[in-house]
Point group: C2
Chain length 701, copies 2
Amino acid sequence: MGARSKVRTTLLVFLFLSSTLLFPAGPVARADEGMWTFDNPPLKQLKEKYGFIPTQQWLDHVRLSSVRIGDGGSGSFVSPNGLVLTNHHVARGQLQKVSSPQKDYVKDGFYAKTYDEELKCPDLEINVLISMENVTARVQGAVKAGMNDEQALQARKAEITKIEDESLKATGLRSDVISFYQSSEYWLYCYKKYTDIRLVFAPEQQIAFYGGDPDNFTYPRYDLDMALFRVYENGKPLQTKDYLKWNKNGAGDGELVFVSGNPGSTNRLQTYSQLEMQRDYSYPLRIKSVKRMLEVLRKYSAIGPEQRRQAAGQIFGLENALKAWDGEYQGLLDKNLMAKREKEEKEFRALVASKPEWEKEYGGAWDAIAQAEKKQLDVINIYRYRGLRGSRLAGLALTIIQYVAEVKKPDAKRLDGFHDSQLESLKFRLFSPAPIYPQLEEMMMADGLQESLEGLGPDDSFIKIALDGETPAEAAKELIGGTKLADPAFRKSLVDGGETAVEASTDPLVVYARKYDPMARDARKWMEDNIASVETAAGGKIGKARFVAYGKTLPPDATFTLRLSYGAVKGYPLNGTKAPYKTTFYGLYDRWLGFDQKPPFNLPSRYVERKDKLDLSMPLDFVSTCDIIGGNSGSPVINKEGELVGLIFDGNIESLVGRFVYDETSNRAVAVHSGAMIYALRNLYDAGALADELEGSAGTK
Amino acid sequence: MGARSKVRTTLLVFLFLSSTLLFPAGPVARADEGMWTFDNPPLKQLKEKYGFIPTQQWLDHVRLSSVRIGDGGSGSFVSPNGLVLTNHHVARGQLQKVSSPQKDYVKDGFYAKTYDEELKCPDLEINVLISMENVTARVQGAVKAGMNDEQALQARKAEITKIEDESLKATGLRSDVISFYQSSEYWLYCYKKYTDIRLVFAPEQQIAFYGGDPDNFTYPRYDLDMALFRVYENGKPLQTKDYLKWNKNGAGDGELVFVSGNPGSTNRLQTYSQLEMQRDYSYPLRIKSVKRMLEVLRKYSAIGPEQRRQAAGQIFGLENALKAWDGEYQGLLDKNLMAKREKEEKEFRALVASKPEWEKEYGGAWDAIAQAEKKQLDVINIYRYRGLRGSRLAGLALTIIQYVAEVKKPDAKRLDGFHDSQLESLKFRLFSPAPIYPQLEEMMMADGLQESLEGLGPDDSFIKIALDGETPAEAAKELIGGTKLADPAFRKSLVDGGETAVEASTDPLVVYARKYDPMARDARKWMEDNIASVETAAGGKIGKARFVAYGKTLPPDATFTLRLSYGAVKGYPLNGTKAPYKTTFYGLYDRWLGFDQKPPFNLPSRYVERKDKLDLSMPLDFVSTCDIIGGNSGSPVINKEGELVGLIFDGNIESLVGRFVYDETSNRAVAVHSGAMIYALRNLYDAGALADELEGSAGTK
């Protein structure tokens, strides 16, 4: 599920098509539906259905024990000494970055027996949500009478930047203004930020991701998708009282549980015209592109074992994305699902139309969005195929060029991503010492250019800049072969040298990105002026209409910010029979033998050698009705006592349409059982000390 | 799958709606499709796809080692001393009949350590197919120029009776003329018949039917659905050289295997209008009725443990039927499936229309059938709700009344079912000492009458006969309470006493059936005159058209006669991932724990007690692409060497639409692994001697 690479890919490649402007439509949350913000927990639903009311203390403790990891994952503190539990697939990027041709920690796993053996992550940031403040009035107050949509958008953006900068200065905390319910609400989220993160434990990828791509997004499942980081502060393990106590008994059938994590994005409140756009253009195009990228990566992989190691991370991420998107796309192709969404929207619009003052204020919003969606079609190929695609180095080049230009401007005038409050995190990633593989970069860039050429034709102005009369392969060879950007010191020297250094640079990739930069800025501006401004305004109206018509009965769509989901541990109807609420180690060995031990159903050797010494009745994975999506990877599953009983790592195949509609019947979150993790640490990884720390029987190592 | 009770129910209750007149439509069998008659094995397909050509000797040996069991199951000889392997669910009826309130062999299983301990089955007949002869020319020759459809039907029936009688006299073998490809071909099938059948072994139903109704018709599966009978001849175990050698290694992934058994019925060659009739009337009505019967049975079951034991067999059978029909019905509701069938028929009709001589001869057949189907709608309620429904005793009463009247007539003039060649098997069932449960009979009859009353209204002539002014409950109490028909000796005295005894009888159920008899005969006649005669004639034309247009490229629809299927051992795409080709005992324990050991996922105590002493890597079940359907239950799975490698007991949920269209992608036959059976006999049932006999290391006990 929602691996970091997946979310990242989505954002970078498909920002344009997968419009993130989201709009309310339906009246009430379905049973167990909802990724609720911590300021508005589903107290009514919890009381009525489960007879449980969490206290403010309970909520605060859960929030402060929860962390956001990097740009796509979740996790939780599980010891007073800064241990953070998350998924192997969330830690995967860092495991790859600390690996080398000689030592593959992704494949072989990792265990630091002492603090000294813990490995520092090159570029991982972990955030803890400290405070939330409603700043809607201030942001909306910046819009003055007589402004058009574009002016209003710029006014709000300027105000948001101001709020973030003020907060950063006042608190020292990472300060993000988040828009919820489209633009009906704005909240200032302040995070404690940690960047000294060290690897403590990860099992072999083959057991973390047992069953590989076939079993991904399915259940019954037999994965030990766990990893442990330790957060350091001032060079020492973080001391914290906000961590989840480990309950190794897990949760029983039917038990109420919670998930606290950072779901990336959902589209439950989008308008019907936006869904149609996704169904007819966005998904088919994305899926086509990703399949093409996967072909290139597999070709690269086939060259040799080191190439396979290098490409494995991207293949994992893209296969994951492809399977998720395919499931979501099937949802959009499902006539029943679309009819449901259409009906909800029609009813909402009819209700708005029934009161003249509502109709006057909000009634035109849906058509405005539909027109904006339609307008995107004019430029669909240009936006899709113009860009520095496939290469991480090219992306770094563009970021550096824009960085030196933007930081000179007043904060409010800068491009998003370059505001003062964002610079520290940006530089942390920009100067990361993590390895980049030039041979792989070249192959990916060559095919990206080839695809652009096919999509745009040789006369397109981007193609002329990018190829300059050469073939895609020649251009990629020249650009990647000649650049020094793989060296973090060189990147730092450019940034430190500012515009002068960048303009003087003859590095071919810098030269190339310099030529492309104006085109990228134009594209961004066109989107803001023509689409984002219209959809923000119209979306805000629909959001307000929702509040006046129905009240605040639904949570906002997901925004990769902290949310609380709730539900019951529960099996579901599966292909003519029932899926059990949990699996055990017995099932792992059944699947291993059922496929004659062949990949991706093979097992790491320790699992084979120790098989007969294990208690196979130990639960391994389990499912609950908790409402999650990509970004929730690594989230803790928590019981009523606030204890950790599991670790979210996936959704089942039926949960994929949850992007558009949640259905409790068979939408399930898949988690590793808390008991399985302790049992594996003790009996398979000889990591008793670590298990002791998790169980609270040892404070330090 | 296709339990005996299921097939029986289908035939009795739904003879009218599920027209068994079947017509060819498509050009060639799909990969691995086909339940082939032994006179026409798929040699071409086997050679091309699997590079294997079975010899005539191979085919003869497989045929003579295969058996048909009762009126709905299959099996095979597996020792030189008459051991017959089949499913627990095929043996279930007999297990129930030899059980008592004191000893429940269905639930607890059974094992005869010596010949003496073997239990004689009260009314089980086993058939071995000895010969097949094409008698099409003779049957069709009976139809003379100038005969209309009705006269032609009667002429063919008379000739068929003659052929059967002659064969019976000449050979002493059970002799059945079977119509294939609708009425394009007629074959005389001669069977060696055995009626001294004894129970040797059956495991507990809870492991035979592990997972109960939820897991029924699904996979992955963990069932030991086996039972062993022994065939006796002249009071001694049958000595035979035609038995399958046991290969306890089973079959590997991708291996070519065969299934030799008796599929009950398919509808792959029906016309589109017949499918529509089934979709719009037959299935919805049947499903409604069965749900109603199940409600009554569950109510009866709830009275107490003995009632539960009595009703368990019918509940099992009806739940099985309901799940199968629901899967089939979903197939008919699937627009893609129907479009496929419609397209095939259109192409076929266009081909026929392209040659004037074909069009003249065959072109009108489809419309003739469509009209006959439509005609049935006029009488749909009458045919559905008039009848002695729900009660076995009422059925026996009617059979006795018709028996004494029919046997006085010349054979050719009798009702089907009462021909000389059929009498021996009929009497065997009629005088069966198997227990009948009057309390259950009364409850089922009362609700059957209630349903008839609701369907027909109080003024219908059947209702007047049946209720005679009473309520359904009163009538049922009187009829079942007053009858002596539960006593086989009383039934025999009526039959022996002939028409005089029957006419003089004041047994209330006999009186009732006597009044109903003319109505039943009228109904039969109406169906023959208005539907069967038309559809036989038209179907015959379509069948012939198929042969001239395409050749004999498809096997006929299933007819509960011996067929050979072939395919590969192979997993399939399942709910986003892959189903393994086999399961193991590990998986059994995973499922047991995954549902907290609760029914229907509990285990017999020996499986719990001996768990840690077993080698759980032993394969348990496996799947293949072999094309099967209800009636194939108990069929052997055979490898190229003619050895037994498995025991068919089910199809997966995706196979249910196989009634209409076979699709190799995910249609799978589910079998018990040969190794699992030997392993269980030795290590769970302490039945080493029996295992020795199966493995050929011991000839006798």
